[in-house]
Symmetry: C2
Subunit: 305 residues, 2 copies
Amino acid sequence: MGDLKLVFLGTSSAVPTKDRGLSSIAVLRKGEVLLFDAGEGVQRAMMKAGIGFGGRMRVFITHMHGDHCLGLIGMLQTMGLLGREKLLELYGPRGLLEFVESNVKMLHYCPPFPISFKEVREGVVLDAGEYVVKAHPALHSIPSFSYVLEEKERPGVFYPDKAVALGVPRGRLWHELQHGRPVRVGDRVIRPEQVTGPKRPGRKIGISGDTRPTEGLVEFFRGCDVLVFESTYDDSLADRAVENLHSTAREAAEVARESGVGKLVLYHFSPRYRDVGLLVEQAREVFPNVVAAEDLMTLEVPLRS
Amino acid sequence: MGDLKLVFLGTSSAVPTKDRGLSSIAVLRKGEVLLFDAGEGVQRAMMKAGIGFGGRMRVFITHMHGDHCLGLIGMLQTMGLLGREKLLELYGPRGLLEFVESNVKMLHYCPPFPISFKEVREGVVLDAGEYVVKAHPALHSIPSFSYVLEEKERPGVFYPDKAVALGVPRGRLWHELQHGRPVRVGDRVIRPEQVTGPKRPGRKIGISGDTRPTEGLVEFFRGCDVLVFESTYDDSLADRAVENLHSTAREAAEVARESGVGKLVLYHFSPRYRDVGLLVEQAREVFPNVVAAEDLMTLEVPLRS
């Protein structure tokens, strides 16, 4: 269907490299952009990826470290200069609002479009009708969140011939049945299951931000179609992962296996790795379906069968 | 000699493009980096240009608009992570110190190296021994400065045979003469001019930042070997240049001609120009020796003869 995909805008950790920018992932869904983190350079990466600045957009920040949010300020300025009028929704930890407000003030910039802010706490952050975004505390050196985007279950495919056979007149009653609500025809009640196929499950995408692996996150990411998990170090630096509250590629794969996800995408690589093949190898020993993100890589999330 | 060169790290105005980052120019002189503005993405541009983060470095900010200073914060973080220990000197308008201090606080970052700040006012901003940096008010929508870097005149070439012929013994007295100070030999005074060639003039580089052309700037940039002047618009948008307090390429060339500079470099192009050839043409009608900066372009400033 191509109606849900990820675009990796920046995949380095802490320090960028010539090839990798700082953390940012765009989830594109039915014309909407959901941006998870906005590291320095995100606006240029969006241009290179062909993502516009004027459309429906929500931004979720995992934590208030510069390499995850500094690009937001320049992006706001560019949005204004390019004529954005739509609301921009910001979601993030305490501190994000002050960060935005004080920077636009210090930089003499007044966004000409409305901006909303919601402070993130554990649980449902946003119910957008067709999907929800949930947050769970990550384990990092400052207050941090992981996020999941979960599409809601959709009603099954509607079969007009079955409705006709049951004597349901075309029109409003079909609409009700298509949207999962029973209807009355004469003295009979027709249930949606009688005229539709099985309900269609939604998809689930997980994004770790910076974190150690935790039991809570294993539960939070359970059943993700795609899990994007930070992979700062290889096995030889496992001690450093503990010390700096990051994860190794192997630890990311252990979360993926225990959560029973479909595919694992590694990102947030230490700039010391010119080639991240070693990290993919170490993850694959634990979990087979793994890829390493590259800047501007896109990944379709297929419908569940 | 190759001891003085400019590296253009970002040459777009306000909004970056796929090809042009936001304003930043590095002047490299005898192992030292003088950075004029630090737009978003400057740290990656420095990596691509092979400019390190640990050496002697001074940063001069022209004005507190995001596209001229937002890259500073990420650069400070990267410097710390890469182990910088040396002092970093910041020079800029009122507001720069608050911008840096509040961001490092909001982003939970404590630079592990010393940072000094000097608020820029008109006149000599820095006397570094061999050169000075001066500031002059620019005409823009917020308090803004243009800068020049002026090398001091150096003593002429020392001729040992002349010193010998005049009976000056090798050693301390030669050293004094080489540094332009007269010495006494017996009851005679030997003046430096008797044993050295003509004094060697220093070079002068001018950088406009964002500004309208002004009479004051013409005087300030007089005699520059290289003048880097903003060139946001072409002739057809001259009204917009007035309105937004920027300059056209032609106006930049008029400043170059009236200031009697050696070479004009245009930069800070509106992102509407994919090809800036038109701007170069319009400038060249006024002043012949003009080039358009590109990101990562380098320009040697030769010694004056």
